[in-house]
Point group: C2
Chain length 353, copies 2
DNA sequence: AACTGGCGCGAAATCCTTTTCGGACCCTAG
DNA sequence: CTAGGGTCCGAAAAGGATTTCGCGCCAGTT
């Protein structure tokens, strides 16, 4: 299949043409449904192509057209949990447009990133999506790049670049609004690492919700690290100082899991005594928690799709509005905030194997 | 940069040649360090290339050489947690060899997989790595594919294909051997979904270890699902029937987390009363457990590298031995089996942002 | 002075496909 | 019978880099 049985090399259009008894030009036109070829001839060519299982060489095609039909996906850290859904969304959107994706992982190393960028440009990618691992702004690739560039998750620090990031401020607001609407009034806040924009933005949003309701959290936000361990410690501290708390907003699902553990250790029942809201909607964690975790879903796959569509459109000459576009997040209701758990809303997929 | 300022299009070798006052052929030779060009001329060409920031068009190069310097990475499910480290390992190994990676996600859909395969071949990839989401054998792509194919994680069902998978049997053995060497004798086993080869293989290995020691588990292996929830249920059942248990082998880290929770609920102390061993070394889960989880690390990144090297060598005409190569796994010691936890061996990276 | 050898360089072919433009052919109408 | 128009097909160029082969020139030898 797709190999010339006589020469052993790949089947080319001229093989097809010879078999069909026409010129290469005619064969090409027949294959591409151009109209200046007789129907009988076209059929002969198609039959020949079928028999040889000919597939056109995209390299030659791209060389001629100046378009490779490929996009570079430049991640700063593949390991990052947030990169994957974005990648999926992008791959999804681009795959549907018959575009293939070059994946490059720079490991958070600028040198490597430059190297990969060069390699992508040598391969004549039609566009580039830069996927960061944090929502903190990252250095721009600059405007010397001859193809459209779109930043996902980590926005570019250059406001004239096109970036997409989740709206963490809205997410923080949403979380607190949900607790308030459930009648909670003595709310604590255990966040993550304060050097992360993600932590600060979510806290900002939470603050807006408090202010809008004319309320305040039980004390200053506790910043720490993005781990279950810190969640346990933070919650323990909070409970000690405010035994009457009735809710805890968490900077991440991991933290929330730790918080839930600490509450259980202290004999508090979630959500009856204390409600808990997480962030990220990391299904494996959220749906296996006791009770399942209400959380904010940043909708990363959609973010990836949006970024892909933006490069796509830019390639087609329709560049997106410059700036950091903040994409909406959503609240996922589960048992950790609703008194009667009922069946889980977002059915989690099983994880292992 | 890398764009001709007069024509606006990309800089080509002929631009460089013109600026250096030589022919295209000479420019090419100068750039590629061929020896039949005078040193002075070479310098002139290099200077010209530098000034225009010329980069050779890989498409043209590939078309001529018949090698694209790219490899297709065909995953059946990007969402799968196991795909990512393999991907990283492969990207790592190939990137070092100046090879770029086309990423395709087939979503477990055979039609889509065929479609992507065709697209990859049209782009003239030099090789293909097929990454599965489970260790169960998967259908072969067949031998009609004109480039080397290597299967990672999910081996091909055709034994003449080259496959790499973790040695789950050895992993199961390792887990039980570790418990036995720690003096545990009344050991329960909570595994995952029995339709998964991963579950069965690990159980097989565990059985070998028991047999070798002339012992038996407290009862038949409990199969269930790959979730914390099942881990809790399974452990609860075990404890009820065998209150004197002193260890539990788990089919995955998720299950182990559930098992730990159930033990805690029942007032058992890990590892003093009951030791727990997980599987997967999923850092976020294992290092945040209380106590941190001893587990089997399948070393997936290394598996990805091995697969990449195998395609790499096959492209160079050194095909690997056919068959399903089982790569070694390793035991990671943490607090859930060792009485005095001490500092964790594998420092976990923080997870959220 | 003529010839040889070697070094440096350039013309042209090659990879494969697409597209333009011109040519061949047939049919019809004048 | 011929001019004209339409239909179908093919030659050739283009796209960019590599490579082979041959040519020209200079130095050295007889």
């Amino acid at each position: 299949m797709s190999v010339n049985e006589e020469t052993g090399s790949a089947v080319t259009l001229s093989d097809v043409a010879r078999l069909a008894g026409v010129s290469i030009a005619t064969a090409s036109k027949a294959m591409n449904n151009r109209h200046d070829v007789a129907e009988a001839t076209r059929q002969r060519v198609l039959a020949a192509a079928e028999r040889l299982s000919f597939t056109p060489n995209q390299l030659a095609r791209s060389l001629l057209s100046g378009r490779s039909g490929t996009v570079g996906l430049l991640t700063s850290d593949l390991e990052g949990r947030f990169v994957l859904p974005i990648l999926m969304g992008a791959e999804d959107a681009l795959g549907a447009g018959q575009i293939n994706v070059f994946l490059c992982d720079a490991r958070g190393d600028t040198i490597r990133e430059q190297h990969h960028l060069r390699a992508l440009l040598n391969r004549r990618v039609d566009g580039i999506i830069v996927v960061g691992r944090q929502t903190d702004p990252r250095p721009s690739l600059g405007h010397e790049v001859p193809v459209p560039v779109v930043y996902a998750y980590a926005p570019s620090d250059d406001p004239t670049d096109v970036s997409f990031a989740p709206d963490d401020v809205a997410g923080g607001r949403l979380a607190v609004e949900h607790l308030l609407s459930g009648g909670r009034r003595r709310i604590g806040h255990v966040s993550g690492d304060r050097t992360y924009a993600a932590a600060r933005d979510r806290v900002t949003g939470a603050g807006q919700a408090f202010a809008a309701a004319g309320l305040e959290p039980v004390e200053e936000v506790l910043f720490g690290e993005w781990s279950e361990h810190w969640g346990r410690d933070g919650a323990t501290m909070l409970l000690e100082r405010h035994p009457d708390l009735d809710a805890i907003v968490c900077g991440s699902d991991q933290i929330a899991r730790g918080v839930q553990d600490a509450l259980r250790d202290q004999g508090r029942v979630v959500p009856d005594d204390v409600a808990v809201v997480g962030y990220d909607n990391w299904e494996v964690l959220a749906t296996n928690a006791r009770p399942q975790l209400t959380t904010i879903d940043p909708n990363l796959q959609r973010l990836g799709r949006a970024a892909a569509r933006a490069v796509f459109d830019a390639i087609d000459g329709q560049p997106a509005e410059p700036g950091a576009h903040r994409l909406p997040v959503r609240l996922v209701l589960r048992g950790s905030t609703t008194p009667r758990p009922g069946p889980a809303l977002a059915g989690g997929r099983l994880g292992s194997a």
